[in-house]
Amino acid sequence: MRMNKDSSRSGWPAAHESPIDRALDRAVRDMMHVDPPPGLRRRVLARVEPRVTGRWMFMPGYALAAAALAILVLGGVFVREHRTKPIQTGTIEPSARTAPVPQPRPAPSPNARGDISGRAPATRITRELIPMPRVTNVFGSRTQGVSAARRPGDETAWPAAATVTDTPVSAVAPIVIEPIETLPLVIPPLVTAAPPLKGGL
């Protein structure tokens, strides 16, 4: 055995080749005389051969980093856009958007006509008149809530608008459509008073 050869050459006296020495040699040999699993050469070459393309082994890492950076940038842009859009749309009141085009409201119910006569014309809710609510509950309570789903004739929910616009309840009334009287267009004759020309002409 190789170890015995080395042991003798390294100064092991022959008298020390006792059974315990042989037992030790055998134990070490049984431990260490193990062959590598088959296919070591193939596995090594499989890792070695793509040496030229080995530089691209780091490509997935770079690609992941670039993708993560792109996602962060796009996410930041999206979040910023998402934050700015509600601010722009939220400042525009629905009434202001619909104000330029007056739409005829449905006729009030007969039992509500008495109230209509005593109400002042509805004030135009403008952007300047309505402060943005900065309170904890932007919707307010149920009784003071502003509801866009107001049904015709449902007057109980209307004071909510008065709360928002700071106008008395009585000042808000449905629009009464009156017949439009069109006057004939009269074009006055064009009279020009030209100043006298200099030079006597």
Binding site: M1, R2, M3, K5, D6, S7, R9, S10, G11, W12, S18, P19, I20, D21, A23, L24, D25, R26, A27, V28, R29, D30, M31, M32, H33, V34, D35, P36, P37, L40, R41, R43, V44, L45, R47, V48, E49, R51
Partner: protein, 209 residues
């Protein structure tokens, strides 16, 4: 003293020397490096096994060592034997693996347990010796278990030297290069390891003439 020429490589005789194959591999011949792998795979594997004491881990270390050697092949100038250079790489890789393993074992599996290696070799597929009868095997089974356990209790420096010397693949010069210790120190460690083992076996009741 053992010389490099005494080392039993266990490789097939080939016309090309290791240095020739190294030059071919440096020129990009992968097959030449494959031949170097074939010639040195057993020595590399057993060196790693002596350190990490697990065949699976030793196989991983051997692969890493060969791949590292291939990538650093340009730095090999032929001042020393290729096998010595390769074994130095292997031992460094194995030490790194052992350190990480010991840390992992200490922290995750069995904190506080000594790294005795008692069970490290229990799962190694033993090579039955044709010179041993079944009776000898049965009689010595307990002794072998005790020796294996006691080897695991040796200090690492003594154990590494003893196991490397017992691989049958490495000369004392190569062991000295791997361990970074003088040749006389390596021989003393082997001798000391055997002495400690015999003393412990005597304490267990194994008395030999």
């Amino acid at each position: 003293m053992a010389q490099s020429t005494d080392c039993v490589t266990g490789t097939e005789p080939s016309a090309a020397t290791d240095l020739d194959l190294v030059r071919l591999a440096q020129a990009g011949d992968v097959e030449a490096f494959g031949e170097l792998v074939e010639r040195n795979r057993r020595a590399v594997f057993r060196a790693a096994l002596a350190c990490v004491r697990s065949p699976a881990e030793a196989d991983d270390v051997a692969q890493e060592a060969f791949v590292t050697a291939y990538r650093k092949l340009g730095t090999f100038r032929g001042d020393s034997q290729f096998r010595t250079w390769l074994l130095s790489i292997t031992w460094r890789k194995a030490i790194d693996r052992r350190k990480s393993l010991s840390r992992w074992l200490r922290l995750a599996v069995s904190p506080g347990r000594e790294d005795t290696g008692e069970d490290a070799f229990n799962h190694i597929e033993r090579i039955p010796s044709p010179h041993r009868s079944q009776e000898d095997t049965v009689v010595d089974e307990e002794l072998q278990r005790n020796v294996t356990r006691l080897i695991g209790t040796l200090p690492k420096k003594l154990r590494d030297a003893l196991l490397l010397a017992g691989t049958g693949e490495h000369t004392y010069e190569q062991i000295s290069q791997m361990l970074g210790a003088p040749l006389g120190t390596v021989k003393w460690r082997v001798s000391e390891a055997r002495r400690v083992l015999k003393r412990k076996l005597s304490a267990l009741g194994y008395a030999y003439e």
